[in-house]
Symmetry: C2
Subunit: 391 residues, 2 copies
DNA sequence: GAGTTTAATATATTAATTAAATTAATTTAT
DNA sequence: ATAAATTAATTTAATTAATATATTAAACTC
């Protein structure tokens, strides 16, 4: 049980100050005091500690309107670094960023199958070693490794329980990486990491709740409430792809009928296309549909519009149940944004019950593929910056 | 912004102690210290304050196993009282309870329509005055009035925005009752109040998240996370009834097609019955279907089973998205529990993706109709007892 | 260059915790 | 029956980290 202690009092204030600097840099001590209604001495002593920890730095003096010039404070971008890893079905991407999420180094490695747990872990380690080496930075300056992994992840232990496409089971990622690099390691499911990445780096502003939906090979969502990932009781909150929306519909790979995924995943779109475009050369993919639509193929345009409509129906269910402040859409299917979004927004507008909820922000990610790997980085950053919320 | 202050530290600990007493009474100071890992002096001084405030009382000495006998502490049940009001489509119920939710007085008033805002408010006031008078208690001993109101409620201002069946709009319930009784007043939507009531008084144990679903005239849900109601960005979280599960289904009163409500509400069941049982005398209601099923009518038994299956499909969507620790079902339709539950549980078991989530607790309310009005009471109790959570 | 303004720090006070000691009340052992 | 041990609750002192107030530092204004 989290008691009311002096450490609590302090860490609450420290978190308030650090987050104020993060979201409003450059900012002076005096300004922080004003905006947080903490007293100047409190802000001063906290800032002193943050500078000692290397999280914050001072810069030049700011402008004064009559009086001593304020010393401006910044998040320190050249002393501490974070490593983010994105394990997708086909490749392992690694990035090295500073505390603001700016990327300094990148590696990418194509996975070949089959793959044993040991081989997979060796690849992870190699790539991270390479990344650090390339960056020419000291290992001392790293604070942690965040891993976004497709499939089912046990967050507590940092284990990949099932990664269906890579055919891996029970990989103790955290244990192994912690031992190897002696750094904090966090592991999270990729859709959820994406949601966190959007919420931290998506430039969305200060929303109470964010849902990020990935529509690609599969359909998944992550829910961020008050800046933190919401996992649910058994860690399966956000399983958006297997929401039944057509009780008599097609059978899904999960065994149920009418899952959203059977209607709007990349493969589902391609399949719907194949039924109609039988004269198309080669195996038709989702990407082909998009290109055909771009070239004015009316059937493909309609197909993508209808996909947008169905996604909109699914999102309406999401709005009615979870009612997030903002929904961010990403994934391969959303590359067809141009055809999908108008129909999608129209469907939501038409279906949502109340006027206020009609104004739920629904946008396409501005981070592209990087949302997930930046989310992996956020898993570590959140340990430093996470607002400690009271309520 | 909630800063880290001495008051915060104190209120956190006070809340921990009070809730420990509430959930584990009778309990001694020493035991509280052990279980909360607060120090004995801290517990002692907080208990002293709680006793002064009239929230806690001491009782006889407990058993000792060698040493001074412990003084046992209880929630004080005979000094402070709460009023709960449930405004349904047909009647206004009021109860007066002590701090443990035990009911001391009850009134019920049948509403007649049409009804103006003024008439409605007058009825509310009259009933509350009556309740207090009957109880022969002092108005000083009341701490607040909680109101559960059907329809759309603005929780901030305590206003009933739309109450469709009573045909009321913009009734400033909180403002009016606060002025009249000079007590704290909280107003909440009835499905959400029900969820809070279940979570507080349902004897469910200590769950992280509870969803209560009311299936009756309409279908609605309330979500309780960490003991507190989750409203969502525009206060519409839990609009479970208008979840699309049959994209090509019947048109709902909301204008959309295939809402869960069009398949499983009391009226929906009755309608499905009518199509088949044309020789039935009089207008067939949901209740009739239940009675016919009880008497062995195979069509009605199947109809209720199928209803259970469809509710199960809806709940599976809920589990996949929100993944609550426990789901509590109530409302008129659940009176047919006997026929509905087996099919419902089977559908969930069949459809939920992971083994762990298959074990989501799904139960029928033990509070019956009182869940909602006890939820109204909880709206006030939560102000006294609510755990202040850090994280 | 004196006076005013603003920023940052130093000092004193205060709230509420923890640790250690004390007092209180029983049970158990001899 | 009395002493020793055990447990409960309270008191006292020390500690932490806040706030309030005063002071120092560094501008700008005229």
């Amino acid at each position: 049980m989290q008691r009311g202690t002096f450490q609590l009092m302090k860490s609450v204030n420290k978190s308030i100050v650090l987050n104020k600097i993060r979201t409003s840099e450059p900012i002076s001590r005096a300004q922080i005091a004003k905006e947080t209604s903490l007293t100047p001495p409190t802000v001063g002593s906290i800032v002193k500690e943050l500078i000692e920890q290397g999280l914050v730095r001072e810069s030049e003096l700011g402008h004064s309107s009559g009086g001593r010039k304020p010393t401006l404070l910044h998040i320190n971008t050249n002393s501490l670094y974070v490593i983010g890893v994105d394990v997708g079905p086909e490749k392992v991407d690694c990035i090295l960023t500073d505390l603001t999420g700016e990327v300094f180094e990148r590696t990418s490695y194509l996975l070949t199958r089959p793959l044993t747990n040991e081989q997979f872990l060796a690849i992870l380690k190699d790539n991270i070693y390479n990344l650090i080496k390339e960056s020419q930075l000291d290992e001392e300056q790293m604070i942690g490794i965040g891993v976004a992994m497709h499939g089912v992840v046990d967050v507590e232990s940092g284990t990949s329980l099932v990664a269906p496409i890579l055919n891996l089971r029970n990989v103790p990622i955290r244990e192994q990486l912690e031992k190897e690099f002696n750094l904090m390691v966090k592991v999270e499911n990729d859709a959820r990491a994406m949601a966190l990445g959007e919420s931290w780096f998506g430039g969305l502003g200060d929303f109470e709740s964010t849902v990020a939906v990935n529509i690609g090979r599969g359909v998944g969502a992550g829910i961020v409430l008050n800046g933190k990932l919401y996992h649910g009781a058994q860690g399966m909150a956000g399983e958006f792809g297997h929401m039944t929306i057509d009780i008599n519909g097609k059978t899904c790979e999960c065994g149920n009928r009418g899952c959203l995924q059977t209607l709007v995943s990349g493969e589902a779109i391609a399949e719907r296309g194949r039924e109609q475009l039988k004269d198309h050369v080669g195996k038709l993919t989702g990407k082909d549909i998009f290109e055909l639509a771009e070239n004015g193929n009316p059937f493909c345009i309609d197909l993508l519009r209808d996909t947008g409509r169905i996604i909109g129906i699914g999102l309406t269910n999401l709005i009615h149940l979870v009612n997030p402040s903002i929904i961010v859409l990403g994934g391969g299917v959303m590359l067809s944004e141009k055809f999908i979004m108008p129909a999608l927004l129209e469907a939501i507008d038409e279906r949502v019950l109340t006027n206020e909820a009609q104004h739920t922000n629904v946008i396409v990610t501005k981070l592209g593929n990087d949302a997930t790997i930046l989310g992996a980085v956020s898993l570590i950053l959140i340990e430093l910056f996470e607002p400690i919320l009271i309520g």
